[in-house]
Symmetry: C3
Subunit: 182 residues, 3 copies
Amino acid sequence: MNKVDLSRYDNSWYKPGGFIKRTLWHIFSMVFVNNYLPLPMIIKTNILRMFGAKIGKKVIIKPKVNIKYPWFLSISDHVWIGEQVWIDNLADVSIGSNSCLSQGAMLLTGNHNYKSAGFDLMVQPIILHEGVWIGAKAVVCPGVTCHHYSVLTVGSVATNNMEEYGIYQGTPAKKIKIRVID
Amino acid sequence: MNKVDLSRYDNSWYKPGGFIKRTLWHIFSMVFVNNYLPLPMIIKTNILRMFGAKIGKKVIIKPKVNIKYPWFLSISDHVWIGEQVWIDNLADVSIGSNSCLSQGAMLLTGNHNYKSAGFDLMVQPIILHEGVWIGAKAVVCPGVTCHHYSVLTVGSVATNNMEEYGIYQGTPAKKIKIRVID
Amino acid sequence: MNKVDLSRYDNSWYKPGGFIKRTLWHIFSMVFVNNYLPLPMIIKTNILRMFGAKIGKKVIIKPKVNIKYPWFLSISDHVWIGEQVWIDNLADVSIGSNSCLSQGAMLLTGNHNYKSAGFDLMVQPIILHEGVWIGAKAVVCPGVTCHHYSVLTVGSVATNNMEEYGIYQGTPAKKIKIRVID
């Protein structure tokens, strides 16, 4: 038919958690996480854990962090989540130890099938292995795996997997060099 | 003279609406639209209509949407406006039915003449025809028309018109493929 | 060792100002600058000056501007700071007269040494000379100097110095043309 008809959109198969849980999290997020109040880290991490997030040791969560569903989030030890980071996790997001999401970075797990008239929802997990660095205002797209020590530079958009020790730049991000760690 | 002198800036020709109307909208926007309060959709759409926006049926407006002037906004049926979308409409913005602005997308209608010493304001409308998809964190520049079913991918910047069924990517966005809808 | 170990991170050499000053500014920023309250310009500029910023005459600061440390900020006369601009100045940022940062632009001064296992913090100043225009949602990276009348287009990322009268686009931004001012 070559047309999009959003009245045909059907995401009834997608069950991200009960209405009460999601509403409660929405409010807790506003009050304790997604704002600039100078709250102790321990309050933020414990509230995230209360809503099902797995949070390792020495995790730093800066102000105004936007997390869609904590119960789909797993963060290992020594991870930094920068100011205004947006983890839009309709699906599982897993962040390996010693990784850093810089300020304004975004992890995007939701997509739509632009080939279907009903614009079907598609959700895909994101995996960050150990020691990954997502630069400021960079975006990781649904389904992407960022392998060990890969880097996405400032403002770049990763649409494909990033190889171990690869440094990626651009929209879409291309591998531009190798990360050598002394 | 080869210099810019912003003391010469003169936008007195630009009349976006009375001071009281703009101030009232600024406050209503803060309280009812541009925030994370879990407000019923009907409240948001009716407030937008009260300020002159044309809003069709089954329009979805997610949290933290930033609209400059509702009286310059026209949205058809079955349109989705994602979280943190920024419609910076100093001029008319028209969004066709079955279109989707994903989270963090921006429609930009204001520009400056960088060739003039007075840095003259220029405003140009944006038109999205039916079934257009503006991806997350993508930006549509002033004066751009997005024809039927065109797609702007995540984080891309559209500086020129987008053709029917064209899929565009990059900064500036180039056509990379054709959208085939089954 | 080819690994990153954030437990080895040591930024103790970095002294951005006392804890009380930084906390006070954090709160003042939330209440007076980094929000949508329709506050008189004079209040914002005077609060910034109170915290050590040098602010010239006829400076315009739009709503929801995010400034890290005002005591590292110097703004000349007739400068415009747009809505949602983010000046993330861990180091000195200097903005020349008649310059414009459009809505959503970001100046980024902090970086990490991705070659060091300890992911060392690196901060570098940003200098905007006279009449520079940073477009909407564009990002200027640490250490970049934007020479007189240079322009960074919408959504572009400047990773290197921008020449006088140069117009730059892309991620990373390349010079695409010359700015001629009549």
